[in-house]
């Protein structure tokens, strides 16, 4: 398998956008969109392999070299801090990582006066280092989904979560208070792969870069 290029891609919107993007540099992987339960697809003519994995597992597969390339959100990369190259911002999947709180709390709240707060989030590492840099003590409650619920039932006063349109927040009576980071989808590369499969991977990076610049 060492002459193949293996790409780890998460299911869902990232998968559709990625298939489209790779199609534009002549790598055809439409097969991935078929309604199959297969987790691994192989194109022996193009010497390409594709693995369908959970988004949070993409950096792990790439760091250990089980996949040469991966496609994953910047939020996951920030949270995990894995040692991989991330040469390309693929520009899609834009959203913001925000601190949010209930609208009635926000009315009289001053973030510069925070000294000890409780936050529910899927991103404990990012949250911790963000507030540590500001000298704010933070008690973190790690949740795996429906983060917006936490302030409504008194689990935490505030949350750190991704916001794209802001609609979910609005419907749950939350407002955005601070932006931690702007998030897009990234192409990541295993360090050893970039060296041992340098020509093919460089060609993919350059091809995608051109497509992205002309877009």
């Amino acid at each position: 398998m060492s002459d193949y290029i293996t790409i780890a891609i998460p299911k869902g919107r990232i998968l559709e956008e990625s298939v489209d993007l790779f199609g534009r540099i002549g790598i055809n992987c439409r097969e991935l969109l078929s309604d199959s339960r297969k987790l691994i697809f192989e194109n022996s003519a193009e010497k390409m392999r594709y693995m369908i994995v959970r988004a949070t597992d993409v950096p792990t597969y790439v760091e250990y070299g089980s996949a040469d390339l991966g496609i994953v959100g910047k939020d996951t990369l920030m949270e995990q801090g894995k040692d991989v190259y991330e040469p390309l911002d693929l520009k899609f999947g834009y959203c913001r990582m925000m601190v949010a709180e209930p609208a009635n709390l926000a009315k009289n709240d001053d973030p510069s006066g925070w000294s000890h707060i409780r936050i529910a989030t899927k991103y404990p590492h990012v949250t911790e280092s963000y507030f540590a840099a500001k000298g704010i003590q933070v008690e973190i409650i790690k949740l795996y989904g429906s983060i917006e619920l936490a302030p409504l039932v008194g689990l935490s006063e505030r949350i750190v979560d991704l916001v794209s349109t802001g609609e979910t927040m609005r419907q749950n009576g939350l407002v955005e208070v601070e932006t931690i980071a702007e998030i897009t989808t990234r192409l990541i590369v295993n360090r050893a792969s970039l060296k041992t499969k340098q020509e093919r991977i460089s060609a993919i990076i350059q091809g995608l870069e051109q497509v992205l610049q002309s877009a």
């Binding site: 991989v84 390309l88 990234r186 295993n190």
Partner: protein, 436 residues
């Protein structure tokens, strides 16, 4: 009261290496050490304990944070398990070898301990086999390290491996010329280490850089690949420090051409992962199918001075467990786990069997006696389990005057008289069909 089992577990991140794995590690280390010897290096054995403050002189922040430390009851000082052997060699050079003529060619083979984050599943013990070449600032010394690394990797049977060359001064030159400092400089370091062009662009947009510096910084995440990138770098780099780094890299490359190893080289001028004490050429070795480097090293001209004895130096080390992971299924490595004979005695008298054992050992065969009294079939099972290639039955009445050899992997049998034991026939018989 319930009887609980005693807890006899191991701490995380360490393991017992059982005979098969230990044999393979020994085989790999031996092959590497042989290359070191052939280039004239002499081994030292460093202690497993150092004073923490002495160790810390030679460590960057990252390794300092990963050092195991504890109290010394005898002195009240802090002790450390070395997380890196190179600072120990620097200490030895500055003390024990201070009056010796240069250059020093020193090798080592040992284990270091490093704290790892929980749940990464990574080992806290790292097996290192490496060399230090001290007292030379010549490009030929840098080239010697790289040529040795390549020779060792070839000797281990790798084919499509790459040695990725960098020069830390290139990057440092660009960073210094940019005039960035504080948080934006740290951000730039991180972005360049990840080859994150978009983050680099953002940092440039947020800061006031000269046009030439802007070009240099923007290029850093993409200055990797084959030899052509050195020309690209020469066109872009205008600061003195980076240009000197490129000249130095070119000089080393010219010598590597003479060594005839250029086909194994790739280049990366944006690589900043080297240890904090590196000052010039750095390199890492990558083999197909393994996500982490198998060797790494580079020039460190200021390290021995921190121990009071300035000397130019370069060196590199293999990560033996990474090599094991890449090599463990190869036939020659597998073969290192086997032994040749188990002697099974049918008679009460042990004189003959012990004589045969001595003969076989004198011929270079590894030979163990069964000693336990049990059925032949049970002994054969034992031999199989212990990776012994062949059982030799001594004193079997049905093959009078002969020895019966039973090969463990396919149970094939052949009779030998005592003359035949000394011929190639026996060697061929035990090696047949073993895939080596």
């Amino acid at each position: 009261m319930s009887i609980t089992k005693p807890d006899i577990s191991l701490p995380r991140g360490v393991s017992d290496f059982m005979p098969d794995a230990a044999a393979k590690i020994g085989y790999i280390e031996h092959k590497i050490r042989r290359v070191f010897e052939l280039w004239g290096f002499r081994r030292v054995i460093t202690p497993k304990l150092e004073y923490e403050d002495v160790m810390a002189i030679g460590l960057g922040d990252e390794l300092k944070g990963k050092t195991y430390r504890f109290d010394d009851r005898q002195t009240g000082r802090l002790l450390a398990f070395p997380p890196d052997i190179t600072p120990q060699i620097a200490r030895i050079v500055a003390t024990r070898l201070a009056d010796w003529p240069l250059p020093h060619r020193i090798s080592y083979s040992g284990r270091v301990l490093r704290q790892t984050e929980i749940q990464t599943g990574r080992s806290r013990e790292i097996f290192q086999s490496g060399v230090e070449l001290i007292g030379l600032d010549s490009p030929e010394a840098d080239a010697e390290m790289i040529a040795m690394a390549i020779e060792a990797l070839q000797g281990l049977g790798f084919e499509n491996f790459k040695i990725d060359l960098g020069q830390v001064e290139f990057c440092r030159g660009v960073m210094a010329a940019s005039g960035l400092s504080g948080q934006s400089l740290r951000d730039l370091h991180m972005a360049v280490a990840r080859k994150d062009s978009s983050a680099v662009e953002r940092i440039i947009a947020d800061n006031d850089l000269s046009e030439t510096s802007r070009r240099e910084v923007l290029a850093l995440p993409r200055l990797f690949g084959n030899r052509d990138i050195l020309d690209t770098a020469r066109q872009i780099a205008s600061n003195v420090r980076s240009r000197a780094a490129l000249d130095n890299l070119q000089n080393v490359l010219d010598i590597l051409d003479i060594h005839g190893v250029s086909e194994f080289l790739t280049f990366d001028l944006g690589e900043t992962r080297g240890l904090e004490y590196h000052t010039g050429i750095t390199f890492e070795g990558f083999v197909p199918g393994l996500g982490e480097p198998v060797c790494s090293g580079g020039r460190y001209d200021n390290l021995t001075a921190r121990y009071g004895h300035p000397a130019a130096a370069t060196g590199f080390t293999f990560n033996v467990l990474s090599l094991l992971q890449a090599l463990e299924r190869r036939p020659d490595v597998e073969a290192s786990t086997t032994r040749d004979f188990l002697l099974f005695n049918c008679k009460e008298d042990r004189r003959e069997v012990l004589e045969v054992a001595r003969l076989l050992r004198s011929l270079g065969y590894s030979t163990a006696r069964d000693i336990i009294h049990r059925e032949e079939r049970a002994s054969l099972e034992y031999a199989k389990r212990l990776n012994i290639r062949c059982m030799l039955v001594v004193g079997d009445e049905t093959v009078l005057g002969n020895y019966r050899a039973v090969r463990t992997h396919d149970s094939k049998t052949k009779n030998f008289n005592s003359d035949m034991l000394m011929s190639d026939e026996l060697k061929n018989f035990i090696q047949e069909g073993q895939g080596d």
